[in-house]
């Protein structure tokens, strides 16, 4: 601009270019360097719209992502009922091991001194089904020879931990209700908890 002005007035004395006094640089505000600041605002308009735009995009993506994650957990599952009714407590005399629900549910109902327990017939070694040997009063796994006492404690063979117990309780009609969605583990000290046995 100043050059054109000088060109139109060639006769004038070579004027000193008039410069405004150097403006005092503003100090850093909120960590932003001075050249990112306009005179009166923390953010320039461009900064504001840029951050708003990215915020909207990332917010929309995050919302969609969370919604998709929830979408992948359906509310209703079409799976077999994990609970079953196992008759009345009086059907199981003290000290007996019932194999009545082995074929259908893979569960023994054992009448222990403290009450009835629902013992899972899944070997804790590799998942075979042990057999109840009433003569020796033990559960014996045919696959690799793991042996368990009547209350499910492993004492021989490769099984690393006791058999698992399912939740056992009473239904409204007085029948025994076994829930295979909740298990009680001996190694976690859960066998004494209410639900792990049914006092008779």
């Amino acid at each position: 601009m100043s050059e054109t002005a000088a060109a139109t007035a060639p006769a004038a004395a070579p004027a000193q270019p008039v410069r405004p006094p150097p403006r005092k640089k503003p100090e850093r505000i909120l960590g932003l360097p001075p050249d990112r600041l306009s005179d009166n605002h923390i953010w320039t308009r461009r900064d504001f719209f840029s951050l708003s735009g990215w915020g909207l995009i990332l917010g929309a993506l995050a919302t969609g992502g969370i919604a998709f994650l929830r979408f992948m957990f359906p509310r209703v599952l079409f799976e077999p009922d994990p609970t079953f009714k196992a008759g009345f407590p009086s059907d199981y005399p003290p000290g007996t091991v019932s194999e009545k629900y082995i074929a259908a549910q893979r569960v023994w109902i054992v009448h222990m001194p403290e009450g009835l327990i629902a013992l899972s017939a899944i070997c804790t070694h590799l998942g075979c089904t042990p057999r109840w040997l009433s003569g020796e009063s033990k559960f014996k796994c045919p696959c690799h020879g793991s042996g368990f006492t009547k209350d499910g404690i492993n004492y021989e063979g490769p099984a690393p931990r006791p058999l698992e117990r399912w939740r056992i309780g009473l239904a409204e009609d007085g029948q025994i209700l076994v829930d295979k969605s909740k298990k009680y583990l001996s190694e976690k000290g859960e066998w004494g908890q209410p639900g792990s046995y049914l006092p008779v």
Partner: protein, 268 residues
């Protein structure tokens, strides 16, 4: 053409050459192929660079780069096997229905009744097995030749992701026959996800976070608490859509980075 057997007098043009010239000069042809076949170094580079299918390739190869002794061609063979599974997989999709009622029946149908069904299914299966082996050999070769070192370290990371997705393709494909082997294999494998820290209901911190078997990493994978038809559909979508697309995108980056990082194998 240069390799025309009979030399022709100048000005004389056979009928075939005339047709070729007219086709090559038509607008339709030129809109697709921007460069002629002039066999010069520059033109050959332009041919590669200007072609959407070939531009991932380097326009020039070093002599040592194509020595089979050095590369074993394992990356190329892996890609070929991926293409085999891609084509045969799409063909299988014309018959296979990923539902509890039909999946196993459709497999039997493909194996025993559909013409060429057995060979297509077996090509898919064996190419998938072979791909796992060749991708491991490729990784071994890259490691032994030191081809993971800078500036190729980023491409090594892409390669690690690719071997992971190759295994995920095998894992998700394992369930699709919907026979006893498939169901119990996925049951055993998904049981490992129970113990995922923070995400599995039998893993560390599950009790503190209140994670149950209904909402954890395993139920996300299985669409429930057991391997069920819902699991089959989920694995089918992952196997046919999600994992192949991610793997293909990673492959594009992988091949492109080979060129950007100084070419295949060899010293820089």
């Amino acid at each position: 053409m240069a390799d025309e057997p009979k030399p022709q007098a100048p000005g004389e043009e056979s009928k075939l050459d005339q047709v070729k010239r007219e086709v090559a000069q038509s607008q339709v042809w030129k809109s697709a192929f921007r460069h002629g076949y002039a066999d010069t170094g520059r033109n050959r580079q332009l041919m590669i660079l200007g072609n959407i299918w070939l531009h991932l390739h380097p326009p020039k190869m070093r002599r040592h780069a194509v020595r089979v002794k050095f590369t074993w061609c394992m990356g190329g063979i892996t890609f070929l096997l991926f293409l085999v599974t891609l084509v045969t997989g799409v063909v299988l999709m014309f018959y296979y229905r990923p539902t509890g009622e039909y999946a196993y029946l459709d497999l039997k149908y493909l194996m025993h009744d559909v013409p060429f069904g057995a060979i297509v299914r077996n090509m898919h299966r064996w190419a998938a097995h072979a791909m796992v082996i060749t991708v491991m050999l490729h990784m071994f070769r890259v490691f032994m030749t030191g081809s993971y070192k800078p500036p190729r370290e980023f491409n090594w990371v892409i390669g690690v992701l690719l071997i992971t997705f190759t295994l995920l393709l095998s894992f998700t494909g394992y369930l699709l026959p919907w026979d006893q082997l498939a169901i119990w294999a996925i049951t055993v494998a998904s049981n490992m996800a129970r113990a995922t820290p923070l995400l599995g209901h039998e893993g560390p911190f599950a009790a503190q976070l209140g994670i149950g078997s209904r909402y954890d990493a395993r139920s996300l994978m299985l669409a429930g608490t057991i391997v069920a038809p819902a699991t089959l559909l989920r694995f089918y979508v992952l196997h046919c859509i999600v994992v192949p697309i991610v793997a293909a995108l990673l492959m594009i980056v992988h091949f492109w980075r080979i060129r950007k990082d100084g070419g295949i194998s060899g010293p820089l």
